[in-house]
Every structure is written in structure tokens, then in C-alpha cells.
């Protein structure tokens, strides 16, 4: 029995291990590399975009209404929490062939940069996409500085 187990010490396996570790490092999510970052495929998926004076965060929350989602900013971290119930209705006599859609409770956290004003957050939900608009602080926006002639 132990002979079988020891096979996993084979140098080939450590090569795989090294390869996987390298892939994890090379392909980890850029931009959200902090403690709260979620693995790929986490619900809801999030996209972030930026303009000169705003940050736009899009959370893909299909099937949820405004009451199902709790949005909050705590200490510079934006939290999206909620629960998606499994497909309802009578389930008697139902045969399932595929269940790929997410069901259950979820939390996603996004560390906001310091230059975001936590008091100016707007959120809208349409067609299963939650759009959160955050404003940058006035002093952080790009500014042209006039160069005076000496």
C-alpha cells in the first residue's frame, strides 16, 4: 500500500506541481491581488472600468432583483452580498440534465483605491447587470498645469 503512495514522489509529479504553480502565478487575476480576491468563476463576475473622474464597476448578477443584493462600502472596501435562490416552482417529477447556474449565498469584495469618494456611490440594476458608479475625489483627477513663462 505504501509502495503505491510513494509513486507520487516521482519527479514527474513535482514537475507538474512546479508547472501548476508557475501557471497560478503567471495567470492570477491582475488588479485584484489581495486577500479578498476571488477565484475565477466566482459569482457574480465583475468588470471594472475607469474614466477621468469615475470608476465603473459592473457585477453580472442574472436573476437578481434590487432586494436580493446588498451593496455597502466599509473601510474602503466595496462589498456585494446576496443570495440567489435555486430555480423555484414545484420540483416534483422534474428530471435535471444540467445544473450549471450558481445558487446560494455570495459575497464579493473589491478594494477601492484611496482616491474614491465613498460617499458618492450610485448603483443601478438592469437586465441582470449591477452598475456601480464611484466618483473620484476632486483632487485626484488629472489636471493640466499651466506653465508660465519665466
Amino acid at each position: 500500500m505504501f509502495n503505491q503512495l510513494s509513486r507520487f514522489n516521482d519527479p514527474l509529479f513535482s514537475d507538474f506541481d512546479r508547472l501548476f504553480r508557475w501557471m497560478d502565478e503567471a495567470m492570477s487575476d491582475v488588479g485584484l491581488r489581495d486577500l479578498r480576491s476571488a477565484p475565477r468563476g466566482a459569482f457574480p463576475a465583475i468588470n471594472v472600468g475607469e474614466t477621468e473622474d469615475t470608476i465603473h464597476l459592473y457585477a453580472f448578477t442574472p436573476g437578481l432583483s434590487g432586494e436580493d443584493i446588498e451593496l455597502s462600502v466599509e473601510d474602503g472596501v466595496l462589498f456585494i452580498r446576496g443570495k440567489r435562490a435555486p430555480e423555484d416552482g414545484e420540483t416534483d417529477g422534474r428530471t435535471w440534465y444540467r445544473r450549471e447556474r450558481f445558487a446560494g449565498e455570495f459575497t464579493r469584495a473589491v478594494q477601492l483605491p484611496d482616491y474614491v469618494d465613498p460617499d458618492q456611490v450610485e448603483a443601478r440594476l438592469r437586465d441582470g447587470v449591477l452598475t456601480v458608479r464611484l466618483r473620484k475625489r476632486e483632487e485626484s483627477r488629472p489636471r493640466k498645469i499651466a506653465i508660465k513663462a519665466a
Binding site: L32, R40, G63, V129
Partner: protein, 141 residues
């Protein structure tokens, strides 16, 4: 791998077939990257249902088409993007969803209904009368 090998077959309760193509990444169309929406497929007494998560798709950008026995669902993702937005982080990297299903002959082509609400598509594929599960009354002898 031939096209046929990539088709996975799901046998339904009564031994019928509901096939589904290309479970992995959809081949990218010209320009736009396509996403495969996660689905739920289930069957009840008189219909087969497909639920698909397609956030960002509205009634206007949704397309449900039946060609021969292949049902294709597709839709463009529309989000309110102000001008001059630069993407800083993206988990959804694509602009549309697409997925095909091969239907068995027992489904009523004319009676297919589709609705979309909050980014979830619901397709009802009714069975033809001959294929409904029927309870047979047992008479006392």
C-alpha cells in the same frame, strides 16, 4: 476530433435524446469573443426547459433560433458604458453569449416559447402530445 465527437448526448427519462454541442469555449466569431452561458436543463411532465444566465442581454438583443433540430440561443451584452471608459479589470471578456442545443423529435417546434427577465433566459420546449407522460388508469377487474 470531428464535429460529431464534440456532441455530447444526454438521454432523457424516456430514452430520448437531447443533445448539446460544444460544452467548452465557443469558437470566437469575427471580432467578438463569445461566452458560453451556464444553463439549467430540466424536464417535467409536458415540456423540457432551458434556463440560461445571460446578464446584460435584453429582449432586443436576444436571439433564439431553431434551424432543423438545432436551437441556438445568442445575445449581445449591453451595459451602460460612458464614453472614454478604459477597462482596468475584466472577468467577463466577451461581448456576446452563444450556445446550441440539438433537440429530439419529440419536441413541438411550433410551441417553443422564450422569455428573458433580469438577464435570465427561460425557454420552454413543449413535448408533442404523443410524447407526454400519461398516467394509465387501472380499472378494477
Amino acid at each position: 476530433m470531428t464535429e460529431k465527437d464534440r456532441v455530447t448526448t444526454l438521454s432523457t427519462a424516456e430514452g430520448r435524446e437531447l443533445q448539446q454541442q460544444g460544452n467548452g469555449q465557443a469558437p470566437a466569431a469575427e471580432g467578438a469573443r463569445e461566452l458560453v452561458p451556464p444553463v439549467e436543463v430540466f424536464e417535467d411532465h409536458d415540456a423540457v426547459w432551458i434556463l440560461a444566465d445571460m446578464p446584460g442581454v435584453s429582449k432586443d438583443s436576444l436571439n433564439v433560433e431553431l434551424t432543423n433540430q438545432v436551437l441556438e440561443i445568442s445575445g449581445d451584452i449591453m451595459v451602460d458604458m460612458p464614453e472614454g471608459v478604459a477597462a482596468t479589470f475584466a472577468e467577463i471578456r466577451g461581448s456576446r453569449y452563444r450556445r446550441h442545443f440539438t433537440l429530439g423529435r419529440e419536441l413541438d417546434r411550433e410551441g417553443i416559447e422564450a422569455t428573458i427577465k433580469d438577464g435570465v433566459l427561460k425557454v420552454r420546449l413543449p413535448k408533442t402530445d404523443a410524447h407526454r407522460r400519461r398516467r394509465i388508469e387501472i380499472k378494477a377487474a
